[in-house]
Symmetry: C2
Subunit: 348 residues, 2 copies
């Protein structure tokens, strides 16, 4: 299996990316192709005190997509960027998955443009695993799609369901619609309309739809798949991160108060770290863009070597899951008739 990695994307590129990629290769055995400026990558390899192992190769490119580049056009304009080259290699079968810690917007636009969506999928969704009191849950979408239609949310429910089966190893993941109350009359018109579609899919036995779910209950572990419009999903994700950072500050304040509390800290040393990590969605490694025709994964912008190593594993799992095939073979169920007709007409 070959994993293509954007060596130039992210705050700590290329050093941490290269280090993590080599570690991932060693730990999990995947072949790695690093895209980026060859001399900088080789310098990074040297700085790690490593030599380029067999099985890790470099595809030289001359450009880098920067944070200030317009995400919608970056991959199109910078044809020889580490991101564009990686995505076109994936499209052309020169690798099995692509991982980048670069601009989320540019990666999503580039993946859609070059690798394309599974036929019939309206929008790709970003689907991180988030912490709950009972383990992890899939949040789909977390910010890729701001203005959604009910059909998008139906598709998010299906692809979230397929993803949860693999990522959480569940036979019948419980799918809930993120809302401000459990009653079906709750939410904006979008949520009321989506509820009807999800209920139909549930009643037909295609997904295990358990109804609307409040953020509080989702975090208690009442669902495995949280279906959300990208705006709400992003608010939820960022609120978890923000609350997590309050907790870190408060824990530090609590344990650093005096000698006695410092002894207390020593008594639970590993535990504190576990809590911090469990509240940090970034620790779950890379997030897949579900609905793209081949696995494209976004690693966090601040990824360190360990995050990239984990992203290699996440990418390998994504390839093994053959999610794209599962989506393609169920696409008929995932389309709303009226909208399907419109789309057909628009293409004629």
């Amino acid at each position: 299996m070959k994993i293509i990695i954007d060596a130039m994307g992210g705050d700590n590129a290329p050093l941490e990316i290269v280090k993590g990629a080599i570690q991932g290769h060693k730990d999990f055995g995947a072949e790695i192709i690093l895209t980026g400026k060859e001399n900088e990558i080789l310098k990074a390899v040297e700085d790690c005190g490593e030599r380029l192992p067999d099985g890790v190769t470099i595809r030289n490119c001359t450009e880098v997509i920067e944070a200030e580049d317009d995400p919608g056009f970056a991959c199109r304009r910078k044809k020889d960027s580490s991101m564009t080259v990686g995505l076109t290699m994936l499209r052309d079968g020169e690798g099995d998955a692509f991982v980048s810690a670069g601009s989320t917007g540019a990666l999503l636009a580039g993946a859609t443009l070059f690798v394309k969506r599974v036929r019939g999928i309206r929008r790709a969704a970003m689907s991180p695993l988030i912490p709950t009191a009972a383990g992890d849950a899939v949040l789909v979408d977390c910010g890729a799609n701001i203005e959604c239609t009910p059909e998008y949310l139906l598709q998010f429910a299906y692809i979230g369901n397929f993803y949860a089966k693999h990522a959480l190893k569940l036979e019948h993941p419980r799918v809930g619609l993120l809302n401000i109350g459990a009653e079906e009359s709750k939410g904006m018109q979008l949520h009321k309309d989506a509820y009807i579609l999800l209920k139909e899919a549930g009643d037909a036995g295609h997904i295990n739809f358990i109804g609307n779910v409040e953020a509080k209950d989702a975090l208690k572990g009442s669902v495995d798949v949280i279906v959300a419009d990208g705006f709400s999903g992003n608010i939820m994700l960022k609120t978890i991160e923000g609350t997590g950072s309050i907790v870190k500050t408060k824990l530090k304040g609590m344990f650093m108060k005096n000698l006695v509390t410092k002894i207390g800290a020593l008594c639970v040393k590993g535990g504190i770290n576990d809590i911090k990590l469990s509240l940090d969605p970034n620790e779950r490694g890379a997030t897949p863009f579900l609905g793209i025709a081949k696995p494209v994964l976004k690693a966090h912008g601040s990824s360190n070597a360990r995050a990239i190593r984990n992203a290699v594993k996440a990418a390998m799992d994504a390839v093994d899951s053959r999610l794209e095939e599962e989506i393609a073979s169920n696409i008929e169920l995932m389309q709303v008739k009226s909208e399907k007709k419109e789309e057909t007409l628009a293409h004629e």
Copy 2:
């Protein structure tokens, strides 16, 4: 000062409500009028091992609004309910503020119907204080208004600003618009349009608008007033609550692991409780409905006596703040011309 309290609202009514009201009277000196079934209230007083103190009186009513009553019509239909009677007493000047732990929807609809909004205010907003790493912030709105217009958000910004001045004792509260990124192009059309209005108000020096704010940064303490449509605001509030409950579970797991970790727990005993409380927005007492012509406050449904005691203080502060006058005297600034015209036409 007279605070009217709905003795029948909430999960722990009437016992905890009565207990908390008496405690609030003793601690803060306000006169209290309890609305509800007199015999049940007197029984509750007895169960507390108390006598009804001078300054705490009962207004007997025969009905109670239940969770299953339609919130939009409950106060109108149950004219002799503890909530409706309390609201009409407030309207008629028989008290200075009203507190209820009953149905949020019924209270909002009843307050709007009987007490009315400040003239020119489009919608009342629920504005709890939420925890941040730097203290507290005002979240406006947290769920009263699901479908919002840009003008609603402009009004939320102003009333949130006035409230933060009193509740957080700040001269120039920093006002931010809850969004999924800092750039002004972010969000749904609603947020883009609202951004323009808030920017104008900021440029004119009426509010200290610092731009869009992500949930994560808001929780780090980068703003004092978080302006949100009610859907996103509710997702944010419930996510804080949910993450808080994960933290509680994890802390318990960490400290209860073995003898050594239990010793650790003893070393930081008070601190653990502080963290739990600081993450629980309900601990901040009652939440005002901003924009109603007189102070109406919602206590959490699960309020215990301590919460109601704190709600008495919150209600007294609300009366002292004279927020309604501040809103009324600034209402011209808070109206969008085109929408103002439409409204006028609709009333002709």
